[in-house]
Symmetry: C2
Subunit: 221 residues, 2 copies
């Protein structure tokens, strides 16, 4: 029997790379990548395409949600606000309601191509100040889909939402995901800075997992 189709939201980072590997266990996969004016947009897109090529996934949609840059309010999209070196309770890297914009886009696509599952790799622990990376958010979005789409049969799945990032990395390695192709740095596009919150979380998680991060960094890992 032909496998069912799922959409995976893929930034090009390590969590979404693991999510693709996870979804491919049971589904045919279509990939959605969103540019939203983030500083490292081009580098992320390169990582996204490299991962998609690795898996031979042809069904890709790359979308520009440039209004998130126009709207601003985040150091990820607004160059006036500096990228912090530490995470805080209300991080400046929070892009207002970003994941709702991304998921709305994914649901529109899912309705048209007939995908019944949408995977995204949010990890709550990884993003304590991001309200749209929590289980309650996923639950509320699924309720919205039930009443807001024609068939009401599309479901968001965030398989790692409760996991530790180190466990996601272990899973990625176990599934043979191409983690060497991923990009996480908020700041640089050539060699990862190793200092921004995203690099720090990634490096900490690799350390905790006891796995060597295969990508190069400016500073010692």
């Amino acid at each position: 029997m032909k496998r069912k189709l799922a959409i995976v939201l893929a930034s090009g980072g390590i969590d979404s790379c693991a999510t693709i590997a996870y979804a491919l266990q049971d589904y045919r996969v279509a990939l959605l990548h969103v540019n939203y004016g983030q500083r490292t947009e081009k580098r992320e897109l390169k990582a996204f395409n490299a991962i998609a090529d690795f898996y031979g996934i042809k069904d890709r949609l790359v979308v520009d949600l440039i209004h998130l840059r126009l709207i601003g309010g985040s150091s990820l999209t607004d160059k006036v606000i500096p990228i912090p070196e530490e995470d805080t309770y209300k991080p400046s890297t929070y892009v207002p309601f970003r994941n709702a914009n991304l998921l709305a886009c994914a649901v529109s696509w899912a309705e048209v191509i007939g995908a019944e599952k949408i995977f995204y790799g949010a990890i709550t622990q990884d993003a304590p100040g991001y309200p749209d990376c929590r289980k309650e958010f996923v639950r509320a979005f699924n309720d919205l889909i039930k009443v807001g789409t024609q068939k009401g049969n599309i479901e968001i799945i965030a398989p790692f939402i409760d996991w530790k990032k180190s466990d996601v990395i272990k899973k990625a390695v176990e599934l043979g995901a191409p983690i060497h192709l991923t990009w996480s740095c908020y700041k640089n596009e050539d060699i990862a800075c190793g200092k921004c919150p995203s690099c720090k979380r990634r490096l900490d998680a690799f350390r905790e997992a006891g796995i060597e991060d295969p990508i190069p960094y400016e500073c010692a890992k």
Copy 2:
């Protein structure tokens, strides 16, 4: 005391024009207009700006959600699918999950500019086959905002969702809204066709309200 700020989603159509007039009774208003590759995009934007100028509203955000065109699946955004002459239960003019995309964008903006209300002029009766024009959808979206934003204090208000379109037109006239500047036709950009589902609904509602529609039509009103 300075009035609080609200965002109004404004297409340039008659319902959103009435919604602006309604919101202005109690709020300072910022206007959000979304292009999503609909056929009459330019004409709608012209109507939007004319209405905003009429009210002297400077705070405007015009956003391109071009992915809705890329994704297709609707006769409004996909020129291969013809605009029907009659509404059906599952109308081809339905743009998949469109209002969720629009509202997500509005919520992102509201978080940044500190607006606590977002008005949109959906009318259920007007759009029987559009799941994202129903009260349940607004309720579910408000639940999503509570868990998905940093303060959880933004609320979507659809003041006319239960109204008859003819009553919305009466209200617009009562509030002195510039209905002569609005545009509703799905098909044309110069003179309204008078035949597409949107023109028909509009003309029927004006007739029911006993008010003359001030815009010109190709065919007899």
